[in-house]
């Protein structure tokens, strides 16, 4: 249970332990490693969205200068169908293997079909140009409407929809159907005074991390591989590489570099197994980096979606029934973020009757990957937009409409469990009271409000704490630090041990040096790995009490730990001086040896994250351009361990959501060729596009964490899509139900 306590370290805005290296250019990211004798690997990618690979001729390329090895799908082992667990997205290892290197078909523009290792990038690229691939083009299936049509071209010829009571009689592009329901929606809609129903669409978007995927791999004659790479989860790189190459996990060591953003997109593998195989064939270390174009074309974006939502309500705003029909693009392989999208959509609201039907749909685009609260922004954009339309119809303030129906502690979540302590109502009330919510609006300006929700994850984590001989503390854990988590871990260790923050160092160790730990994802690190750090620190405290007790000749349960010192409990008849961590560490050899604390756990009880955001936008009636004037992000964060980095999560999520709402989309031509695979044409928000982003941290402690921590990283991207769409409606007077709200689309709507 959560403890009421006065924190000393927690909540301090300390400087992150890895900060100096990151502001001086010393921090080593994925592409910053080199080894003697290293070769450069490059990938040949399909120019077609859908094509049979008739033949691949590498003979001429193999003889080119500097070329040491070439691999194609034929060099990779066959992989059995097996669901991937532990990551953030859905998927299957067999599909992953085929995504890493195409076999008989190229399934999207950018699908890897061959790879070369050469002495230089220029030589590798020259060799790629000399590889002859004969394709037989097939029809490209580029959206859910086409893909779900009865006469659709099949992307996977033997795909039979899962999740139906009976196996369908013929294959289709619908990989899976799911349904969630409660009550009887017919009854609910009959009880409604008002019923609204609309269709919303969101485009394919990319996480847009600034660091392209990069790795360096080497494998020796004994079959032992070492991989340096930028990843959100090096244990997952290990397991994925082992599956794709049919290797023993014990023979693969993965060393995580610093990571230049991921947002879910670096929870799977693309180039790592290829680099290992090229290293095996060439006998040399192989470095591979993706270009930005490759990142867009061949790493996993987020699902484009079509969502049909219907809501019934009483005149006072009480929701009586809600339905959702959700179609999510999975890309070329099954496993979109449909399930979490479906589970989140109605989570913030109490409603007796709902029905959610979801479809996981194959299209000829890259296999989607997790993207920050995967699945939730799309479905909740649709629902939160329609709620806004409902509020207009009922002439209710959009916050009041949500307050009328908001879930609270004890409410049954639409996805199953009863909510523990949550802060949705607190966030709504904070928004209503916020001075920004009362600011006057000018001409062509409008305000939009929306809620966001994400479950947050727990999962497996490990931590070790070593007490050095001078009493300083080394924390060893296995989550790549993607946004300041070293600081959070150090603060929690300092808090628990009662030592100053600057005596703690945090090491993110490789797969052979840290205990097994799931990905940096699911907003789980500060919660779950933080809990492991706290437990490891408590292990140390327990050992210190025993060492002190032995030194003093009293029972260990007669020793307390206060402010970083072992002290005898009140009333203990012992004339002793308190022993500091340094005292005990310095004397460790005489009291039992080094102080080593450990914890491993599968964290349960991740507290769900609720947010309420609102923004003001101004439309330029001549161009249709929308400018965000003000943005306010309010979120229940449980307990902010390092408030600056928590605020940063809210601000960064808002910026990504604004980009999703206003600009970002994959643009394909009629043949399924991506036309904007670069940051010039795939336009993410730049500094001059955004205002300051105001944040308010609501702290409703998560009862399942010793300090009340709940995940904060993903919820922030959920609300902004509808916030901007709702504000745009206010500013323009017209409702546009497709993202992005780019100037041409807004202008067209204005001109009616």
């Amino acid at each position: 249970m959560s403890e009421v306590r006065n924190f000393r370290a927690i909540g301090q805005r300390v400087i992150r332990p890895d900060g100096v290296d990151k502001v001086t250019g010393r921090a080593n990211f994925g592409a910053d490693f080199s080894l003697p004798g290293m070769l450069y690997g490059r990938v040949l990618r399909s120019p077609h969205a859908h094509a049979r690979i008739v033949s691949i001729d590498t003979k001429r390329a193999a003889k080119m200068p500097g070329v040491h090895a070439i691999v194609t799908g034929a060099d990779f082992p066959g992989v059995q169908s097996e669901e991937i667990t532990g990551g953030e997205g859905a998927g299957n290892y067999k599909d992953l293997a085929v995504n890493v290197m195409a076999r008989d078909k190229a399934l999207y523009h950018g699908h890897a079909v061959a790879a070369v290792a050469a002495a230089s990038i220029a030589e590798a690229e020259a060799a790629l140009a000399a590889i002859k691939v004969k394709y037989e083009k097939l029809p490209a299936v580029m959206d859910v409407d086409t893909a779900m049509a009865d006469d659709a071209a099949l992307i996977e010829e033997d795909l039979y929809t899962a999740g139906l009571p009976e196996k369908p009689t013929k294959p289709s592009n619908i990989a899976m159907v799911m349904e969630l329901k409660r009550g009887d929606v017919e009854v609910g809609f009959r009880d409604a005074d008002v019923v609204v129903e609309e269709t919303y669409r969101t485009p394919t978007v990319h996480q847009g991390y600034i660091e392209p995927h990069a790795c360096l791999a080497t494998i020796n004659q004994g079959g032992q591989a070492t991989v340096w790479c930028c990843t959100q989860g090096h244990f997952d790189v290990r397991s994925s590489t082992s599956k794709v190459l049919a290797m023993n996990v014990a023979d693969i060591r993965v060393i995580p570099s610093e990571i230049g953003g991921g947002f879910g997109g670096k929870t799977t593998v693309y180039i790592e197994p290829v680099a290992v195989l090229l290293s095996k064939k060439s006998g040399r270390p192989v470095k591979m980096t993706m270009t930005r174009e490759e990142v867009f074309r061949a790493s996993g974006p987020a699902s484009a979606t079509k969502c049909v939502i219907k809501i019934g309500a009483k005149k006072d705003g009480t929701l009586t029934a809600m339905t959702a029909w959700l179609a999510y693009e999975a890309g070329a392989f099954r496993g979109s973020s449909l399930a979490p999208g479906a589970m989140c959509i109605f989570a913030p609201y109490k409603v007796d009757h709902f029905l959610i039907r979801g479809f996981d749909v194959l299209v000829n685009k890259p296999k989607v990957a997790a993207y920050r609260a995967p699945g939730a922004p799309q479905s909740m954009y649709a629902c939160e937009s329609l709620l806004d339309e409902l509020a207009r119809k009922l002439d209710l303030d959009p916050i009041d409409l949500r307050l009328k129906n908001a879930v609270e502690e004890g409410s049954q979540a639409a996805y199953g469990p009863k909510f523990n302590a949550i802060g949705f109502r607190e966030c709504l009330e904070a928004a209503k009271r916020h001075p920004n919510y009362a600011l006057p609006l000018g001409p062509n300006e409008g305000r939009g409000v929306a809620a966001g929700f994400w479950f947050n994850a727990g999962m497996q984590s490990s931590a070790e704490i070593h007490i050095n001989e001078n009493g300083t503390v080394t924390v060893i854990e296995g989550n790549p630090d993607i946004g300041g988590s070293r600081a959070s871990m150090a603060l929690m260790a300092a808090e628990e041990l009662g030592v100053p923050y600057d005596r703690v160092r945090v090491q993110i160790a490789d797969t052979e040096s840290a205990g097994y730990t799931n990905v940096t994802g699911g907003s789980r690190v500060t919660f779950a790995t933080g809990m492991a750090v706290i437990h490891a620190a408590r292990d140390i405290v327990g050992q210190c009490k025993q060492r002190a007790a032995a030194t003093w000749g009293i029972d260990a349960d007669m020793v307390d730990w206060q402010d970083g010192h072992a002290v005898p409990k009140p009333g203990v008849n012992a004339d002793v001086k308190p022993l500091s961590l340094a005292d005990i560490a310095g004397n460790a050899a005489r009291t039992g040896g080094p102080l080593l604390g450990r914890a491993s756990l599968n964290a349960r009880g991740a507290g769900p994250g609720f947010a309420v955001n609102f923004a003001d936008v101004r439309v330029d009636p001549d161009t249709g351009k929308l400018d965000v004037l003000r943005y306010t992000a309010i979120q229940d964060v449980g307990k902010a361990i390092h408030p600056s980095y928590v605020e940063g999560q809210l601000q960064g999520g808002a910026a990504q959501g604004i980009g999703w709402a206003l600009n970002e989309e994959y643009v394909y031509d009629a043949n399924g060729v991506m036309e904007n695979a670069g940051f010039l044409d795939y336009r993410v928000p730049v500094a001059s596009d955004l205002p300051m982003i105001d944040t308010q941290l609501v702290e409703v402690p998560n009862p399942s964490h010793p300090y009340g921590v709940r995940g904060v990283g993903e919820t922030p991207i959920v609300a902004p899509l509808a916030v901007i769409a709702n504000a745009a409606h206010s500013a323009t007077g017209v409702r546009i139900r497709e993202l992005p709200l780019s100037p041409p689309r807004v202008l067209a709507a204005l001109e009616g």
Binding site: R13, I15, R16, D18, G19, V20, K22, V23, T24, G25, R26, A27, N28, F29, A31, D32, S34, A122, Q207, G208, Y209, I210, E211, P212, E258, I259, G260, G261, G262, F263, T289, T291, R292, I482, G483, G484, H642, S644, Y645, E647, G648, Q651, G652, G653, A654, A655, Q656, G678, F679, L680, V684, P685, V686, A687, S688, D689, L690, M692, I693
Partner: protein
Amino acid sequence: MAKVHVTTTVNGQPVEYLCAPEQSLLDVLRETLKLTGTKEGCATGDCGACSVTVDGTLVCACLVLGVEANGRSIGTIEGVADGENLHPIQQKFLEHAALQCGICTPGLIVATKSLLESNPSPSEEEIRYYLAGNLCRCTGYDKIVRAVQDAAATMRGEAA
């Protein structure tokens, strides 16, 4: 094609290297000189992660050829701190938590230094437009802008 011999100055130190005529300065810095603090985010001049200065002018190293550095003075992130002392911009980025993943940070710091050298008192709007060529996907720019404002005040000798 034969490689070209280039004599230049990097962070005040004389440097010589051979590079292919088509090789970018970014490639030379990272692969030949092993100065990996300058990052590659796009190689098309759109993200600013490879921001460096050439004779004091802010450029994307991916859009400059290695041979163009001949006879010039190159400034990279590795030259921003004064020995063991961080530059005030670096210090303020840390204090304001103006980085999350840190991949854009070297480029942003080099760009900010260039801004504040030419404009010691930029408005928020001037900061946002000057840094519009440096993509950050993590922070939403709020804390970066505040760090730049605070660094500017410090460099002007105003107490924070």
